[in-house]
């Protein structure tokens, strides 16, 4: 085997290879269809262009998907994130709308604290149902998915709360260093989660719990506590995404805010190579997945197809990605050629080799 093929196999075997290739293919297809796609121009000290737009619009999805990645890594799933977005956005907007001066930074900060605080409570509720009572995650979070929409509407009293607060609006459409502020928020959360999971043992512990919660517990890991934690993290991520979504339109709609985002987030995680069975996760893959979904959505809009129809494309993507990932599918479709050359390499090793 030449070094070239070895290197090629190493790249193709990298977990981020297929998602990255898909994203590049999408961008290329877009550029061919619309030559101005890659253009980025400077206007009033801000960068504008399709690429910047895609980054800005994908920020909420990236946040939700990051939380979802950790939940899925423990073998769970969080269906309540969409409702969580709506609830936190509703609480924040309600508080701001009650303030005499909606532009006061202090008031906006308190509203954010309230939103995140409520998300902590709801995340703890999800976590307790899964980790303490032992209900299947899909069902435990289904409760809040159903009731959460009602809760959001209860907070807004069925109305769409419109606010006029510049500091709050900045979360969604503000700029920092020529780029949209929401990109920085998403990046900060990403870096934080990456540091915590990859520079400490937390990521490994989460994967261990996802692999086998019982075995992890016997090995001395408090599995229950870890499971509880990931739902709380997911809720907080969803809350921040909820602020962004509501700040984008300067209004809170309990019914529509964050609708379908749980499905997009799951899709992003799966595209990114994280197995739904739990046990391993890839934050980089998730971010690529979220970018793919947002690019796909933007592409569909650009082709003058209605937003709802983009679901059709997503359906096709979900099935293809899942099929490619499924061992049963690979076994049926792809001839087993990888097993041939790899096997002798292992047997060539002298058995009595002493580890250095």
């Amino acid at each position: 085997m030449s070094t070239w093929t070895a290197r090629r196999d190493a790249i193709a075997g990298h977990s981020l290879f297929w998602p990255a290739l898909a994203l590049i293919a999408l961008v290329v297809a877009n550029t061919v269809y619309r030559p101005g796609f890659l253009a980025v121009e400077m206007k009033d000290g801000h960068l504008y262009g399709s690429l910047v737009d895609i980054l800005r619009l994908s920020a909420p999805l990236i946040l939700v998907a990051l939380g979802m990645t950790l939940v899925i890594a423990t073998g769970g799933i969080d269906l309540s994130v969409g409702s969580m977005c709506a609830i936190s956005g509703a609480v924040a907007c309600l508080y701001i709308s009650k303030q005499p001066d909606q532009n006061a930074v202090g008031g906006v900060l308190i509203s954010l604290v309230l939103g995140v605080g409520l998300a902590l409570v709801l995340g703890a509720w999800n976590g307790a149902l899964v980790a303490v009572i032992g209900i299947q995650p899909i069902i435990a979070t289904l409760i809040l998915m159903v009731a959460g929409r009602g809760l959001a509407q209860l907070i807004t009293e069925g109305q769409i709360i419109t606010i006029n607060s510049d500091p709050y609006k900045a979360i969604g459409v503000g700029h920092l260093l020529t780029l949209p502020l929401s990109i920085f928020i998403a990046a900060a959360v990403t870096v934080l989660i990456m540091l915590v999971t990859r520079r400490t043992a937390l990521g490994l512990i989460i994967e261990s719990v996802g692999g086998n919660a019982q075995a992890s517990r016997l090995a001395g890991i408090r599995s229950g506590r870890i499971m509880f934690l990931v739902y709380v993290i997911s809720a907080v991520c969803a809350a921040i995404a909820g602020f962004m979504i509501t700040a984008n339109v300067s209004s809170a709609d309990g019914n529509a805010a964050g609708q379908w985002i749980e499905l997009d987030a799951i899709l992003a995680v799966v595209i990114g190579g994280t197995s739904l069975a739990g046990g391993r996760f890839s934050l980089g893959g998730t971010i690529l997945g979220a970018l793919i979904i947002q690019t796909l959505t933007t592409t569909v809009y650009a082709m003058n197809i209605s937003p709802q129809t983009s679901l059709l494309f997503k359906a096709v993507v979900v099935i293809i990605v899942c099929l490619v990932q499924a061992p049963a599918f690979r076994a049926r479709i792809v001839p087993r050629r990888a097993a041939g050359p790899a096997a002798p390499a292992v047997t060539d090793q002298p058995k009595e080799q002493v580890p250095a």
Binding site: Q136, V146, A315, V318
Partner: protein, 331 residues
């Protein structure tokens, strides 16, 4: 673990309620309490037509929930039903608008849902992908198809449909039900018969109880698992037709989130989410509970519709907790 020794049966425990009946009985009790509260609070609530209206307003939900019962009994889940209901209604509306004869429209509508269900069943079984994610894709697909057919609502003016929608079947006192209710009852009876007395029904329970054992026993696991998703697709298609009778239109965003109401109805009806235990009768009770909640909230007048969601969420929680407690006691 759950085996009952002969001494236990002949002992003093003989007269205890079997544990598998506890959730259904709890639902029945809840339904009676809610109805009693309604009757004591509002004079018009005792009117028989109120009960009939619950059936009229939830006929389509009942049919879809029956299909979901099959899927959940095998330990699976079908998230695509709400979208399939909407897609069926859209297909009916658009075909009728194009002038297709009503019987042909019915046949086409009844074929699309089961076909999608069959395909999802194939993927779930043969490629071993979780039902949740496959039916999620089915949900995306069907909802996307809705808007592909039309971005706006299509009214139905076909004579067959309007007659089906407005026909009142009633008693001399003036109380009536719609044709949809009768269709829903037929579906319920057929489903109850299939689950209780046919080989397919036995296989569904066996797979839900333990798929490994079912396979080792030589039961046709593949055929049964694919069948339940096909049945669920068929029920969703019938539900879609009933919904188009009810609203006399097809709208791309109709029945969004219906799958959750359906799952809630099945769970409140006592079907265990891990599969293997539950009855169609329980599902009927579950749908009635949801219907009576809505009726109570409508009668109250001061409560808004979002309370429905909160109450349904609360009940879902209570019944899952109940299932869980019974599960713990079994151990």
């Amino acid at each position: 673990m759950t085996t009952t020794t002969p001494s236990q049966i002949s002992g003093r425990q003989r007269w205890r309620i079997p544990q598998r009946h506890v959730p259904v009985l709890a639902t029945l009790a809840l339904l009676l309490v809610m109805y009693a509260v309604g009757v004591s609070q509002y004079r018009a609530f005792s009117n028989v037509q109120v009960v009939f209206n619950v059936f009229i307003d939830n006929g389509f939900l009942l049919v879809v929930a029956v299909g979901m019962t099959f899927v959940i009994l095998t330990g699976g889940i079908d998230l695509s039903v709400g979208s399939v209901v909407a897609m069926t209604a859209m297909v009916c509306a658009s075909l009728l608008q194009a002038g297709t004869p009503a019987p042909l429209v019915l046949v086409i509508a009844l074929l699309i849902g089961p076909t999608l269900g069959f395909l999802m069943g194939l993927v779930i079984h043969f490629f071993e992908i979780q039902p949740f994610i496959v039916t999620l894709a089915g949900m995306f697909f069907a909802r996307g198809m809705c808007t592909l057919i039309s971005k706006s609502s299509i009214p139905i003016t076909d004579e067959f449909w309007t007659v089906a929608a407005q026909q009142r079947i009633g008693d001399p006192h003036g109380n009536f039900v719609s044709i949809s209710v009768l269709i829903a009852f037929v579906v319920v009876l057929v489903a109850a018969y299939v689950l209780a007395y046919t080989r397919l029904g036995r296989n569904v329970y066996a797979i839900g109880g333990n798929p490994q054992s079912a396979l080792l026993m030589g039961l046709p696991v593949a055929r049964t698992r694919i069948a339940v998703y096909t049945i669920s697709g068929l029920c969703a298609a019938i539900g879609g037709i009933l919904l188009s009778f009810y609203t006399l239109s097809g709208a791309p965003l109709i029945a969004v989130g219906m799958e959750l109401d359906v799952i809630a109805a099945v769970v409140i009806g006592g079907t265990v989410l891990t599969g293997g235990s539950g009855y169609v009768f329980g599902t009927v009770l579950g749908v009635l509970v949801l219907g009576v909640i809505q009726t109570l909230i409508t009668f109250d007048g001061t409560l808004s519709s979002w309370w429905t969601k909160i109450v349904i969420g609360g009940l879902l929680f209570a019944f899952i907790l109940l299932q869980r407690l019974i599960g713990i006691r079994k151990k």
